[in-house]
């Protein structure tokens, strides 16, 4: 039976960097008939290094920052006292904005009785999209020094709605913080990449708790598997977490990866491995959709 994978959104995440999120994401997208790949790891996106997309378009992403007009401000201090994020201070009768603390919520503009606050745009990064064979590649890039990649991720996922009838692979940032939550918010399924170490289990547990909190269906890919005991596998068995597939720790894959080549495009063996992984994930998603429509 050929399973349709159209319109499914799969997020790939892990508690720490270097577990294989990008390896898995890039290859899952590559083995699909047609797919959209979204790199939400905006602090250091690297999926594009593998895809080497062509016809790249770029769009700057800006957030809004309050701007105080000293002519209009009467020093009533309402904005400073209202700000939930403590992003404003009131010194020598005028408000100061702390841009790295501001969440661009716009509340200060609303409470100002003198309309002394306006908004200016502040560029925090960009998104790029291009084509690599069967894959549309979308990359979010946060400017170094900027606080939060959330606005970039929001735009990336919004833009991807155009390709909603395609399989979408979301390559998440590492960890379990705001940017990860934003990245998995609309995902139909979460693939957790795990390393076979005690440290790896600790980090796996973090994302495991996150996807449970978000009520997302999930499964684990055991990466860098060696012979002998795998603490991550033990963890999955104990917690009854579905194991979607195993990727062995082998030179061939390491070399392809360090040459920025896409394993499933270079070797039949890896094409088979990742095709079967994609099938397992799609099957899980279909099962989930049937059980919890």
């Amino acid at each position: 039976m050929v399973m349709k994978n159209n319109g499914i959104k799969i997020a790939v995440l892990s508690g720490k960097g270097g577990t294989g999120k990008t390896l898995i994401s890039v290859n899952l997208a590559s083995v699909a008939e047609k797919a959209v790949y979204i790199d939400c790891d905006v602090d250091e996106p690297n999926g594009h290094l593998f895809f080497k997309p062509k016809n790249v378009n770029s769009e700057k992403i800006a957030i809004k920052m309050p701007l105080v007009s000293e002519d209009l401000c009467n020093g009533c201090r309402k904005c400073v006292d209202f700000c939930k994020f403590n992003a404003l201070a009131f010194i020598k009768n005028r408000p100061y904005v702390f841009e790295d603390v501001c969440h661009s919520c716009g509340a200060c503009l609303l409470v100002c009785p003198e309309k002394a606050l306006t908004e200016k745009e502040k560029i925090i990064g960009e998104i790029k999209n291009g084509i690599s064979g069967n894959v549309t590649v979308n990359t979010g890039i946060l400017k170094p020094g900027e606080e939060s990649g959330v606005p970039i991720i929001k735009r990336l996922l919004e833009n991807s709605k155009a390709g909603e009838d395609l399989l979408t692979i979301i390559d998440c940032p590492p960890g379990s913080n705001c940017v990860v939550m934003e990245s998995i918010k609309d995902a139909d399924y979460c693939v957790l990449a795990a390393e076979p170490t005690i440290f790896g289990v600790h980090n796996l547990n973090m994302v495991y708790e996150l996807v449970k909190l978000f009520n997302k269906p999930y499964g684990v890919v055991l990466n860098k598997c060696l012979s002998g005991e795998n603490p991550a596998e033990k963890f999955c068995i104990e917690k009854n977490i579905p194991i979607l597939g195993r990727i062995m720790f082998e030179n061939e894959l390491g070399e392809l990866n360090s040459d920025a080549k896409i394993a499933s495009r270079e070797s039949g063996k890896y094409k088979a491995l990742f095709s079967s992984l994609l099938q397992s994930v799609v099957k899980e998603v279909r099962h989930e959709a049937a059980v919890n429509p």
Binding site: F85, N86, A89, I91, F98, D100
Partner: protein
């Protein structure tokens, strides 16, 4: 003039709180009257921007000098704009630090750390 010190307890013999932004109380000592009062630090419970809010409270209390073991960049910006001087505390109680400051034994604080962004250290 007024001196502020982040303290763990509402006593002059209290130890110095290692955090400026998230200290439970500030001791405000008036050197003209030798009177001490304690300010609850409402910034302690803030999700973010605690240093800015705590510095604001210090500015609003018309403090001239802050004695603290450390201080973040944003708080420093608020305090310096308001011309509050910052000195580095030494070991001992709040009272001992006030005495040391008055005897000109404290040095200005000149290293300011970045925010912890919700990751408490």
């Amino acid at each position: 003039m007024k001196i502020a010190v982040p303290v763990d307890d509402k006593r002059l013999e209290s130890g110095i709180c290692p955090s400026f932004g998230r200290t439970p109380y500030f001791l405000i000592f008036n050197t003209d009257t030798n009177e001490a009062c304690f300010l609850d630090n409402s910034a302690a419970a803030s999700q973010g921007g605690a240093g800015i809010k705590a510095a604001q409270a210090i500015v609003d209390a018309e403090v001239n000098t802050l004695l603290t073991p450390r201080c973040g960049e944003n708080a420093e910006e608020v305090l310096s704009k308001a011309e509050v001087l910052i000195y580095k505390t030494i070991s001992g109680t709040a009272q001992q630090n006030i005495d040391a400051y008055r005897a000109e034994q404290l040095l200005p604080l000149n290293e300011f750390h970045k925010g912890f962004h919700g990751h408490e250290k």
